[in-house]
């Protein structure tokens, strides 16, 4: 490579790495603001402000959904399996909303410790499968979310168990 070209290459690489460092430091400094939502752990620890618009995310706790039969009012618990936060909401829930489903709740944290939600958004995980497969999985006692992402792990465990029973 000719010296002039080499110099240019270093200049360009230097410029790009400086820009990368700048962006990296900015993102690092803003890391808590880039997170879309507070987890229940953060809310219980007091990281989230009261009576201001915040977002909270987690799973809808199994068996926690209580609907008012006369209105659209609904109460449920959002959990990260460590801490729980109760949510009050009045409105139409997205189609994917169900117990065990990931949600993002937009609302105000009240001093009583519950969230008054203005909007409930459903998250979904990265697993896709036909309905027959999910039914078969559930019948076998696995959650559909375990499918394939954890399939290898489950297979290993089953093998180990079989190996142990043989010995």
């Amino acid at each position: 490579m000719r010296p002039k070209r080499k110099q240019k290459l270093y200049m360009v690489l230097g410029l790009v790495s400086l820009a990368a460092i700048a962006v990296g430091l900015t993102l690092y400094a803003l890391r808590s603001n880039i997170n879309l939502f507070f987890s229940p752990i953060q809310i219980v620890a007091g990281d989230a402000p009261y009576e201001r618009q915040i977002r909270a995310g987690g799973m809808v706790k199994e068996g926690s959904v209580a609907r008012n039969p006369d209105s659209l009012d609904v109460e449920f618990t959002v959990t990260d399996y460590v801490e729980d936060v109760r949510v009050h909401y009045s409105g139409i829930l997205p189609d994917l909303f169900r117990e065990g489903q990931g949600v993002v709740v937009v609302g105000q944290l009240q001093h009583d410790g519950y969230i008054k939600a203005d909007q409930v958004l459903a998250r979904h995980d990265e697993n896709y499968m036909p309905p027959e497969v999910s039914e078969a999985l559930e019948a076998a006692g696995y959650s559909p979310a375990d499918y394939q992402a954890k399939a290898a792990e489950v297979a290993e465990r089953v093998e180990e168990r079989e190996g142990a029973s043989q010995n």
């Binding site: 360009v12 890391r31 939502f37 829930l93 909007q119 896709y128 499968m129 394939q148």
Partner: protein, 246 residues
């Protein structure tokens, strides 16, 4: 290797070789996209949670792949042009940028349409969606810079620098779903792990992705050829070519 690269720098040689390659990529694009769409939209099974709305994946994911790959291509051609002054790289960059911007828009739009039935909102300022929007602005910036200079060389250099600096955004898009809490779910496909999707769902998706890439290559070859003619219009081989065909 070097002989090949040296040949590739010559617009005349590129013009000849791309004429031979182009029909194959067009044919591949047509066959793959038609097969993938019919398979994905009509024959692949519906998702257990999302039902049929999950089929948007067959457009959304290929478009998003292409949007990011084209930006990386812009950065690489920009580097090649800046350091080695290879004109053909700059011509390719000129014609790739609008397709990349279009694909970014398709990914954002199809994502918004998909978000309404699944998430309950069409837009959320989460890290994945925002960094993808920034990618669209970077594309528009690259395209605008090319038009903003009187001298083509300054315009090409400015666009190359923006593409090379902007490529920092690509790993941010890719890893945004792992680094931060986002509404967008993590990647279904990873290089190392298994796909979180059965084969009858991912096979049509793979076909669509390959089809989109073939389309990108075919369109880039075609448009680079016209860019060569435009820029080399005063060269003797182009004039001879024009006389032959008229």
């Amino acid at each position: 290797m070097w002989a090949f690269i040296n040949k590739l720098r010559s617009p005349k040689w590129f013009y000849a070789i791309s004429a031979r390659l182009q029909p194959w990529f067009w044919a591949a694009a047509l066959i793959l996209i038609v097969t993938g769409s019919v398979w994905g939209l009509a024959f692949a099974p519906a998702d257990y949670q999302q039902g049929n709305s999950f089929r948007i994946i067959y457009v959304h994911v290929p478009a998003a792949f292409l949007a990011q790959s084209i930006f990386v291509s812009l950065a690489v051609t920009g580097l090649v042009y800046m350091v080695w002054k290879i004109k053909i790289a700059d011509m390719a960059a000129t014609v790739m940028a609008p397709l990349g911007a279009a694909m970014t828009f398709v990914a954002l739009f199809s994502g918004a349409v998909w978000g309404v039935p699944t998430w309950g909102t069409w837009w959320m300022w989460d890290a994945r969606l925002t960094s993808m929007l920034i990618l669209l602005f970077l594309y528009l910036g690259v395209i605008a810079l090319r038009g903003a200079f009187a001298s083509r060389d300054s315009a090409s250099r400015a666009a190359s620098v923006l593409a090379m600096v902007g490529v920092i955004n690509i790993p941010i898009i890719k890893y945004s779903v792992d680094w931060w809490y986002t509404l967008h779910q993590p990647a279904t496909f990873t290089v190392t792990g298994r796909a979180a999707m059965p084969m009858e769902m991912w096979l049509p998706l793979l076909i669509m992705v390959l089809g989109f890439y073939s389309f990108f290559i075919a369109l880039t070859l075609m448009r680079t050829r016209s860019e060569i003619l435009r820029r080399e219009a005063s060269k003797r081989w182009v004039r001879e070519l024009a006389e032959e065909t008229t």
